[in-house]
């Protein structure tokens, strides 16, 4: 009964990963080679080294690090605070959860449309979006070119990412809070612990597994981020390039070898994060 799925996953995940690694180690850089009209040769790790040596790709990697750091810290902090605020019963609590979580149901492409407007870089007379809002409330000094900044522009794109996924992190933490048995809290209160101590000594430590899951999920989403960046800036925008965008650009230029190599880079980075997580999950299941 599970054979069809095993076959599909075997071919489409593991088989294709193998082929991708092979392609990434060839000199398949032109349309003629991509279509099989000209032969391709094995070149080993040359493409990987070449990529790492180009300034352009290093910029993408730096962007990826910045983006992931901002996205991760932002979504974790906000999601956690929201969960904490909503953890105890509250009139309308259910409604607030629904509002916080709804951006998750929207595609990155759709939210990109509005965020492109909000992060409009025009200032002064022509300012719209957030820059105009800052003017209106007298916080002019906060005006900035957003994603048009070459070094830190990518951080502007982390804002919508945080906006969209904080609710998800909240949901994860809420599930974590819910998993702490009430007897534990009561016992601590009986022992004279203050409300804050109950959190610090009893509840927070129990949230560690949830925290790990949330970090893994958000970080891995961040590493393959593509939609949001494509819909806010354009594919060719150097400021906000990340490896996932490079991969697309190489493919569009029929440079399949480099495209595959960028894909492989992403896999390797993500594997560092995911494999320990999966192994640990596997252990906890079999234990």
């Amino acid at each position: 009964m599970i054979l069809p799925s095993i076959l599909l996953i075997g071919i489409f995940v593991y088989g294709l990963l193998g082929v991708n690694f092979w392609t990434s180690m060839t000199d398949n850089h032109s349309a003629a080679q991509a279509s099989g009209r000209e032969p391709v040769a094995f070149v080993g790790l040359t493409n990987y080294l070449d990529l790492l040596l180009t300034e352009d790709f290093r910029h993408s990697l730096a962007n990826l690090v910045l983006f992931t750091a901002a996205f991760l810290v932002g979504a974790m902090a906000i999601g956690f605070v929201w969960a904490w605020l909503l953890e105890r019963p509250l009139p309308g609590g259910r409604l607030f959860q629904t509002v916080y979580l709804f951006p998750m149901a929207v595609s990155f492409v759709a939210s990109g449309v509005v965020w492109r407007w909000l992060l409009n870089s025009n200032q002064g007379e022509n300012a719209s979006g957030l820059n105009r809002l800052f003017q209106m409330v007298g916080l002019d000094f906060l005006q900035n070119p957003w994603w048009n900044n070459i070094t830190f522009g990518i951080l502007a794109i982390a804002l919508p990412a945080i906006w969209q996924l904080s609710g998800y992190v909240m949901a994860l933490f809420l599930a974590g809070f819910r998993g702490v048995p009430d007897e534990l809290r009561e016992a601590a209160r009986m022992d004279g612990a203050s409300e804050w101590q109950v959190y610090r000594m009893v509840i927070f430590p129990q949230l560690t597994p949830v925290l790990m899951s949330a970090i893994v999920i958000i970080a891995h989403m961040s590493l393959k981020s593509f939609d949001l960046i494509m819909s806010i800036s354009s594919a060719s925008a150097y400021q906000t390039k990340v490896p996932a965008v490079d991969m697309f650009l190489f493919k569009s230029g029929f440079d399949y070898a480099n495209s595959a190599a960028v894909g492989a880079f992403l896999l390797i980075i993500i594997a560092f994060l995911i494999v320990p997580y999966l192994v640990q999950q596997h252990r906890s299941r079999t234990r």
Binding site: I2, I6, L16, W82, P89, W163, L174, S194, F248
Partner: protein, 297 residues
């Protein structure tokens, strides 16, 4: 320091039953502060929604930067009409893609979940972990060979290849959700059937499948949202002329012809309506789906 609460009721989270333990004297300040913080968050979350609605309802004369945040002078549905004209064919294609993709991947996931939680064959956990890895696979790392393979196999670009891809790459998450679901179903329910001599397939069709309906609700929501919102596969395996709505919307919003925010924002709202509707109607299940999809693992 807090006065100890007497109510030891194990109130489930969403029910506002238990009074705040901080109530001392008249005004429960911590509650007020908490509400204020929550409301501030709500405002921030809803700002983009305000912008989308207001901008999409503005007439052409209202588009100046100075009035960017203001309500429309006159309310106009012109943008919506234009967006509908531009997007309706692709919305229809998205429906044709999402329905089969969702149903097929749900059925496959249900079979996997059932087998993996009930039949402890040697290596079952390894198989499960290997399937799970697909959930975290960066699709970029298989995209090039995927293109070559589908091209070679003659799978037509556009909706047919997208259905296939959403089915295949949906298997990990649907398997996970159903496996967790079947783990939570009392074993006796299924085992009694096996005792009576029913085979695996028989047990699946007549016992497990009907039992799994709540699991199906969660999986269908999840897969529907994922497939509807996908952009990566859409951009690699279709063109705006034969692709789903995300691609058409991106094309509309980034089109060189019109940098018309009113129309793009109306389009963004249109393209989001199906998933928002599902979310609003079924948010309870959506939430539990998120949790099953991640926390337990």
């Amino acid at each position: 320091m807090s006065t100890s609460t007497v109510s030891a009721s194990a109130a489930p989270l969403p029910s506002p039953a238990e009074p705040s333990p901080h109530r001392r004297g008249g005004v429960p300040w911590t509650l007020v502060l908490r509400l204020a913080a929550i409301l501030a968050g709500v405002v921030v979350v809803l700002i983009p929604v305000y912008v989308l609605l207001v901008t999409s309802l503005k007439g052409p004369g209202d588009a100046s930067a100075a009035r960017a945040w203001a309500l429309p002078r006159e309310w106009s549905f012109e943008n919506w009409a234009q967006a509908w004209q531009a997007l309706s064919p692709s919305i229809w294609r998205s429906v044709q893609m999402v329905v089969p993709a969702t149903v097929i991947s749900a059925v496959l996931g249900c079979m996997n979940g059932f087998v993996l939680s009930r039949w402890r064959f040697p290596g079952a956990d390894i198989v499960f972990t290997l399937i799970l890895f697909g959930m975290f696979l960066p699709y970029q790392a298989v995209m090039i060979p995927l293109m070559q393979m589908l091209l070679g196999a003659g799978v037509p670009n556009g909706i047919p290849s997208l259905i296939l891809l959403h089915v295949v790459f949906g298997i990990p998450i649907t398997t996970l959700i159903f496996r967790n679901y079947f783990e939570s179903v009392p074993h006796e329910l299924i085992e009694s059937a096996t005792m009576d001599g029913a085979g695996m397939l028989r047990t699946f069709w007549s016992i497990a499948l009907p039992l799994a309906i709540p699991g199906f609700v969660v999986v269908l929501i999840w897969q529907f949202t994922n497939a509807w919102n996908d952009f990566l596969f859409a951009v690699f395996f279709s063109s705006p002329a034969n692709g789903p709505v995300t691609l058409a919307l991106n094309n509309l919003a980034n089109g060189a012809l019109l940098a018309n925010y009113g129309v793009s924002m109306a389009g963004a709202l249109l393209a989001s309506l199906p998933t928002l509707l599902v979310y609003i109607l079924l948010s309870k299940y959506f939430l539990s789906g998120l949790m099953q999809g991640s926390v337990k693992g």
